[in-house]
């Protein structure tokens, strides 16, 4: 397994005070909290941070960790020393408030089983409610219109033959119902982690996240597209085709339309009660003047229109 440099993860010196560590934790927790952060790797960073803080905030664990010495480098191959755990009394040892299954093998080897005698969570003795499991599911916008199914592989904590919790992969085939929206939860009762003893199985929560689409954008249950049109289509009006998540439709562009103008296709957004709408945002696209003939048309327009696009700026 790999050595973890908890000081580096928290961005503090090895001689930092407990107050420094707490301050560093709070600051980084606000930055990487998965509910707050928009950084792509926030979830991983937050888990690492939680693990580092779990060790460094507890003076007993910190002393033990410091005893490994400062010559280790993050990512270096690591085995706990054979005498590890002797001479320490871990009162709040093992896993305290944080979720044990989220921590690394490195943490587990140092503070997990070795220190169970010091007061770690007594898994074997109690019956405990299985943990609820949360996972993100990425779907296409079109899936929200039609429904879909997804095979998901989840890590669950189960009780091994030796009576110790183990992390196992579990694959589920889940129906994504029609009408789901970005950020919504789907709850599957009893599909979380199994409970221990007589404890009930936890629930599974799937958070819906739409894949980035090359031309659709979603706001709530409304869907938007930027539709390029030619200047003469905007000025003279036209019937043009536009893609929508339910197929190509013909759209009438009124004469005198402008760039940024919005046309609404009622009820063609994400299905709901009532259905969302589909908005076409017009973007006037200029034809290139790449031949003498097209250049001549632009020159002619410049001559006869006397158009000043900056008139409203007073210049």
């Amino acid at each position: 397994m790999e050595y973890k440099d908890y000081y580096k993860i928290m961005g503090v010196h090895r001689d930092a005070t407990q107050d420094d560590i707490k301050r560093a934790y709070r600051k980084l927790a606000r930055k990487y909290h998965p509910d707050v952060s928009k950084e792509a790797d926030a979830e991983t960073r937050f888990k690492e941070l939680g693990e580092a803080y779990e060790v460094l905030k507890d003076p007993e664990k910190r002393v033990a960790y410091d005893r490994l010495g400062s010559n280790w480098r993050a990512g270096q191959e690591f085995r706990p020393p054979p005498d590890w755990g002797h001479g320490f009394e871990f009162h709040g040892g093992g896993f305290t408030e944080a979720d044990a299954s989220q921590f690394s093998d490195f943490f587990e080897s140092l503070f997990g089983r070795g220190f169970a005698h010091g007061g770690g969570r007594p898994w074997q003795e109690t019956s405990a409610h299985g943990q609820d499991v949360y996972a993100k599911v990425y779907i296409e916008i079109e899936d929200a219109y039609h429904g879909a199914s997804r095979a998901l592989t989840l890590k669950s904590t189960v009780l091994g033959a030796d009576g110790r919790p183990q992390v196992k992969d579990r694959t589920l085939n889940v129906r994504i119902p029609k009408g789901v929206r970005q950020g919504q939860y789907i709850r599957l009762t009893g599909q979380g982690d199994p409970g221990f003893g007589n404890g009930k199985q936890g629930d599974l929560y799937l958070e819906i996240e739409f894949q980035h689409h090359p031309y659709y954008h979603v706001e709530g249950k409304n869907v938007y597209i930027d539709l390029p049109i030619a200047p003469w289509e905007a000025i003279l009006g036209a019937t043009v085709k536009t893609p929508t998540p339910t197929g190509i439709v013909e759209l009438k562009i009124p004469a005198g339309s402008v760039s940024g103008g919005k046309l609404r296709l009622k009820g063609r957004g994400i299905p709901a009660k009532p259905d969302g709408d589909f908005y076409v945002v017009l973007k006037v696209s200029l034809p290139p003047a790449d031949t003498d003939a097209t250049r001549a048309v632009y020159q002619e327009m410049a001559r006869i229109t006397r158009f000043n696009p900056r008139a409203s700026l007073g210049v």
């Binding site: 709070r26 927790a29 606000r30 909290h33 509910d35 707050v36 928009k38 937050f46 939680g50 408030e97 409610h129 609820d132 199914s149 095979a151 694959t171 589920l172 085939n173 889940v174 129906r175 119902p177 009408g179 789901v180 929206r181 970005q182 950020g183 919504q184 939860y185 789907i186 709850r187 599957l188 009762t189 599909q191 629930d203 599974l204 929560y205 799937l206 954008h217 979603v218 706001e219 709530g220 938007y224 930027d226 009660k273």
Partner: protein, 106 residues
């Protein structure tokens, strides 16, 4: 892999949306939370039940997400319920703005 997945039973769940209504008991069970704590969340306006008294209270399905978020913010950032309520409100606003911004950034 594909073959294997097709053999698995297809499971369905509930969307925790506005239309899904939860009783106080449902919410307590789903969020693993005593009713007293739910009252605190209501007091801070983190969740809002419909109905005149506790016996007929109904919570929207989206409350589950708000409760979970508030609990995590309180646990991880050391804020109180009022702080979590403020954060949730700002996060809601930020979410809408980020979605809108995505429309203008390609």
């Amino acid at each position: 892999m594909r073959m294997k997945n097709e053999l698995l039973p297809l499971m369905s769940g509930d969307i925790l949306e506005e239309d899904l209504e939860l009783t106080l008991a449902d919410l307590c069970r789903v969020c693993h939370m005593p009713a007293e704590q739910v009252f605190e969340l209501i007091e801070e306006g983190i969740i809002e039940p419909k109905g005149d008294n506790r016996a007929v209270w109904r919570f929207q399905g989206t409350s589950v997400r708000r409760v979970r978020c508030a609990v995590q913010l309180r646990r991880d950032l050391g804020v109180n319920w009022a702080g979590a309520a403020l954060a949730l409100e700002l996060l809601d606003e930020l979410y809408v703005l980020r979605m809108r911004l995505r429309r203008f950034e390609h």
